[in-house]
């Protein structure tokens, strides 16, 4: 069963000059086909302006395709009657932690989604507690979001999405504005959710380290999907990745360089331990 399925997806927007006259159209997404099975962890990588965020916004029906079709859990996102169902099925976490928290208290913010869905009051409390616990923020339930760190805010935002009980979570560069610690916090929370709640996770990012556990990786450039495969397959094509202005994790880079100098190391090494093991085997 496909969670997300897109066929020949195109998204165009008008380019305007300073007076607001249309001078042309830009294609942010150009003929993208994508298939994401239920329960999988998929990462979409890409440089700035590659169209990855635009693609993410299609999964939540914030943007509607200009051409082609996007199905979320079998629902066409273009159909206005399915709009709220699509949004409930695919929850979305955005980049800026400050601009997506609505409540003045953590628990109120997490309750915002269920409130909108018309969930009964007792059920809301249960869901809020449950989802705050699953991201490890339960002890901050009465705190003001302004006093939290970036990573904590982002975890609250994730809890807010979980409380709507979606089948799929789309994270649109959730770690781009965080420090390394906050980044780890958020990725760990997402990992835990994936294991416990069995939701489909779609992670949009440009940090390579975050995608090594993914089932599939898509690399986007100029509105196209240019690479697709498992992380190991993707990372063994170092030169190609570099041509799309992507950084490769340090370990992979080192392994690649060593291999080029004649050492017998397999391609697509993702973790430090793997490299250590491969080096030990050389002797």
């Amino acid at each position: 069963m496909e969670m997300i399925h897109a066929e020949k997806l195109i998204y165009e927007y008008d380019r305007r000059d300073e007076d607001g006259n249309i001078v042309g159209t830009n294609r942010a997404i150009d003929g993208v086909d994508i298939d994401i099975p239920q329960g999988s962890f998929v990462a979409v990588l890409g440089h700035n302006g590659s169209g990855k965020s635009t693609l993410a916004k299609h999964m939540n029906a914030i943007l509607v395709p200009t051409g082609g079709t996007m199905w979320v859990d079998g629902r066409d996102t273009k159909d206005p009657a399915e709009l709220w169902n699509v949004r409930q099925t695919a929850g979305m976490v955005f980049q800026n932690p400050d601009n997506q928290i609505i409540g003045t208290v953590v628990e109120e913010d997490v309750g915002f989604g269920p409130e909108n869905l018309g969930v009964p009051t007792e059920e809301i409390w249960k869901r809020v507690e449950d989802s705050l616990r699953s991201v490890g923020m339960i002890e901050y339930r009465k705190a003001s979001p302004n006093k939290l760190s970036g990573g904590q805010k982002q975890r609250v935002a994730i809890a807010g999405v979980i409380a709507m009980e979606p089948k799929c979570i789309v994270l649109d560069e959730p770690t781009a504005m965080l420090d390394p610690n906050g980044r780890k916090e958020v990725i760990r929370a997402v990992e835990k959710l994936r294991k416990e709640k069995k939701v489909t996770v779609i992670l949009i990012t440009h940090y390579m380290e975050e995608v090594i556990d993914a089932d599939q990786v898509f690399v986007m450039d100029g509105g196209h999907i240019v690479m697709h495969g498992t992380p190991r397959e993707i990372f063994s094509r170092v030169e190609e990745l570099k041509s799309y202005r992507m950084d490769v994790p340090q370990v992979t880079m080192l392994a690649e360089e060593l291999r080029r100098r004649g050492l017998e190391i397999p391609g697509g090494i993702l973790r430090r331990e793997e490299l250590v093991e491969a080096l030990c085997r050389l002797r």
Binding site: F94, N96, D98, L117, V119, N146
Partner: protein, 274 residues
């Protein structure tokens, strides 16, 4: 630090007054304000003082906070007292020098007026001290709900108010950041006359506005992504429900208003000129 500023001067505590339904507090505050205007007698003020004192005591808000709240009206207070003191005629003459005359009536009205003004401010500040800003907007939303029938978007207005409250600290922090950034580029906010200083604010306001609009755009998108579609079909995580203590508070307040009014009418007593 700038992000510690609280708006609506909420004083967090767990007192009996804090626990009341915000609607009760709003309505009872209004009743208290009305009670100050429908009577003007010593007996009435004595009852009002006892009532206000009891509420302050129960609210566990330190008295000095409430006194501090009176500061902004000091000038208004002095002005009103002076006007009433010198311009009200009638009754026996107390003091007379040059063109100023203080009469018994003048003294009486000015003292009563001062007390009335102070109680007005103290009474309403008790409400804001004991109700969180969100509680206030929730209470307002529920109280004004009937206005929905005449096409006033009560829910939307309340939502806007609570979002505005949420963004005050964020925008304050941002202002701080922009100010520092402009200062690093040589901007000068402190010297010059008032017009020059106002002009110096422009390089702060423009980026602040731009970023506020960007934030608003992001937030609207985040709200839509979480299925926000207006007040219809929405449930509440913290619905307002009247409890026994709320009903009691209504009764006590109504009894107080009646007592203050009746005392002024039928059981007033005189103490010197008052």
């Amino acid at each position: 630090m700038i992000r510690d500023i609280t708006i609506g001067q909420y004083y967090p505590a767990e007192s009996r007054i804090h626990r009341l339904d915000p609607r009760v507090k709003i309505v009872c505050t209004l009743l208290f304000l009305v009670s100050l205007f429908i009577q003007n007698s010593l007996a009435g003020y004595v009852i009002a003082t006892v009532f206000l004192g009891a509420v302050i005591r129960l609210s566990e808000v330190p008295l000095k906070y409430i006194v501090k709240g009176l500061k902004p009206i000091v000038i208004l207070l002095l002005f009103t007292v002076a006007m009433n003191l010198f311009l009200t005629q009638g009754g026996g003459r107390l003091v007379h020098f040059w063109i100023f005359t203080i009469t018994e009536n003048g003294l009486r009205t000015s003292v009563f007026m001062a007390v009335r003004l102070m109680y007005l401010v103290a009474g309403s500040s008790i409400m804001t001290f004991t109700t969180s800003p969100n509680g206030l907007t929730d209470g307002m939303e529920k109280l004004l709900h009937p206005l929905n029938k005449v096409n006033i978007p009560v829910h939307e207005v309340a939502m806007m108010m609570s979002i505005a409250l949420r963004f005050i600290p964020i925008l304050l922090e941002e202002t701080d950041k922009i100010m520092k950034a402009q200062m690093a580029r040589g901007a000068d906010f402190e010297s010059g006359n008032i017009i020059q200083r106002a002009k110096a604010m422009i390089p702060i306001l423009v980026p602040l506005f731009v970023s506020a609009f960007r934030r608003a755009n992001d937030l609207a998108m985040a709200m839509e992504a979480r299925c926000y579609h207006g007040g219809e079909g929405r449930t509440k995580m913290k619905p307002l429900k009247y409890k026994a203590r709320d009903r009691m508070t209504y009764i006590i307040t109504v009894v107080y208003v009646a007592a203050a009014f009746a005392a002024g009418r039928f059981a007033d007593f005189k103490l010197w000129i008052f």
